[in-house]
Subunit: 374 residues, 2 copies
């Protein structure tokens, strides 16, 4: 009998049967999140273009599109391929890139999908325009403006006008609007402070728009925003399109922020782990370590715990749990559900996500773009 890679779960199984560590998705909470964000955007009159970097899954992108999303955002070019292969036809790359291999990917993608990309330097515009012309493809380009993040994007109007002029000089490129994203403010814990920061960002964005309008340049699309600011981005009325990603999962970090508005997103992402060693008093060792949960936003927390369990350290393939009481009897073999601090790099560690409803496995969705960071 030939040996095949072990499955994580089978549809119809009890979730107790999943092969831990496993990435679980509570489908009721997931559905709620998908529909809440779609409704928020629809009522606010903005387009919803979910960021797939959070989930990297074609199945989830299709659920978002079915709920009314206009297309998807990818952070990297290679990340877009599985979605393009699956037939998703409207893709925005919310990022810059440089170099021959990257431009080859842009022209290849542009032959298959309506592609838009960001730029923040004239060299990117020239390389893109030249190669797109040679390959006879059309690409929509959105200069990125820095509205406080301090990462990518131009920082003054002259630089922006230079990019817009450069795009106009390239037959194969089309100026489609602006990207204005402030990643830093997504994570401000206090809801009112986050709201104020989003307003400052929106004002920054508006200044760039006004400078362009004064020169008769209209921005069809103004795209940006994220899970942390989506409700404010809509209220501020500057963006025409929002790019939230994490809202489908509400990881430990996002769930820990203040949420005082109508939007009440629900935690849907969990990691199932098993306690596989209990040799030391007050300590239990589970099978989910650094390769099963990202720790850049802190250690995972223990979900629905009744024994005072705390996940205190991650080794490569072990999680170290402390228990309030010394007694570990009955702990061996117990399933521990973990809430990852940061969804994006956690999901990227898994081949599949196990969707469940109640106690039953309902679906297995591939993380199609896992590891595609080029």
């Amino acid at each position: 009998m030939l040996l095949e890679l072990p499955t994580v779960a089978r549809v119809g199984d009890s979730i107790d049967r999943v092969n831990t560590p496993a990435l679980l998705l509570d489908l009721d909470a997931f559905d709620t999140n998908i529909h809440q964000m779609a409704k928020l955007a629809r009522h606010g009159g903005v387009a919803l273009r979910p960021h797939v970097k959070a989930h990297k899954s074609v199945a989830i992108a299709n659920a978002q599109l079915a709920a009314g999303a206009v297309g998807i955002c990818c952070q990297k070019l290679s990340e877009a391929y599985p979605f393009a292969i699956a037939g998703i036809r409207n893709i925005h790359i919310s990022n810059q890139f440089v170099g021959t291999r990257k431009i080859e990917m842009v022209t290849e993608l542009a032959r298959h999908v309506d592609l838009s990309v960001c730029v923040d330097h004239p060299a990117q515009v020239n390389a893109l325009g030249e190669v797109a012309r040679q390959h006879d493809v059309r690409i929509s380009v959105l200069p990125e403006v820095d509205v406080g993040h301090g990462r990518c994007g131009v920082t003054d109007v002259d630089a922006l006008l230079g990019l817009v002029d450069g795009i106009a000089q390239q037959d194969a490129l089309r100026f489609a609007g602006l990207q204005a994203y402030h990643g830093g403010i997504q994570h401000i814990p206090d809801w009112q402070k986050r709201r104020k920061a989003a307003l400052i960002s929106a004002d920054e964005t508006a200044k760039y728009l006004q400078a362009l309008e004064a020169r008769g340049i209209h921005c069809g699309i103004v795209t940006g925003g994220g899970t942390g600011t989506a409700e404010f981005d809509i209220e501020n009325g500057v963006l025409t399109e929002i790019q939230p990603g994490s809202y489908v999962f509400m990881d430990g970090h996002y769930a820990s922020l203040g949420w005082e508005g109508e939007q009440q997103l629900q935690r849907s992402l969990l990691i199932a782990s098993t306690i596989m060693s209990v040799g030391h008093p007050g300590k239990a060792i589970c099978d989910a370590g650094l390769k099963s949960v990202a720790v850049d936003s802190g250690m995972p927390s223990v979900h629905h715990d009744t024994r005072g369990l705390r996940y205190v350290a991650a080794n490569d393939e072990h999680g170290i749990l402390e228990i309030a009481a010394d007694d570990t009897s009955g702990m061996l073999g117990r399933t521990v559900l973990l809430v990852p601090g940061h969804c994006d790099p956690t999901v990227n560690l898994y081949r599949q996500i196990v969707g469940f409803r109640g106690t039953r496995v309902e679906c297995l969705w591939d993380i199609d773009a896992r590891g595609l960071s080029q």
Copy 2:
């Protein structure tokens, strides 16, 4: 024309052409490391059983076996599958496990390979023995003893004897010796202090061995050790087998330790990234972030830098670099080589590793067990 996932590199290409972020392996340094460790073990009269959790690659395991390794170690059962499928026939799982799905994997693997596993609780022995008997497979079992690590393993002789007795009562199980691994001391920076800690660990191991010998129980295998202590483990003469993994790569953390012995392992693992945005004075943004480099052991360092570049923060898909001078001219598009702090979780992020010699890509090796943590 159908769209296919983009390649990372092609054999024969210049390494300047790799699709960044890419995981690079300097094959000259790699060869040196493979042969140094093989020689160390051979001269020391111990068996070398490299841990594949560091690289998860069949090609690298085969190179280790060709250099004289007796078999491989895996940390998880699912991790062993790609190696078993590729025909590697001697596999030790250096870890415990509990639960039906895990036992199913053990018996499945044991039908295809010479399998040994660890235990540290009677419940593990009983479950394993029962199911192995039902499936008519034979499994070698090595109780793990805690020699200071404080993670897995029994902590006293009585518990060890209980496990040995339990194994003896199961027809399908064979007592094969002990595992004694102290992960904590692998990372002691000072070479002499690390040596002393390894000696204390060896003494602890010896106590367990003596207690067994006094009862006429002989341990055929005493396995443990890692990259940080391999030379001392051999010198101490207690282990019959060493399990180093990271030695093939010598990541940023291991390379930062003191190495005063004959063994001088070389850094072989690098990440190629590209600077793709330079809009802010004194700052450059590269395309390798949290999904391309593990940061649990700190930020990556910049390899062979001449511009005072420092990698200061990792976003999901961006690395934030600071430059000593404000002037970023000429930086856009430049390749930056990064040294990851911790190899194991970094390698696990990639589909392939790009082997190069000089400036040419010589091979592309799959990370076959990527994401297999079950």
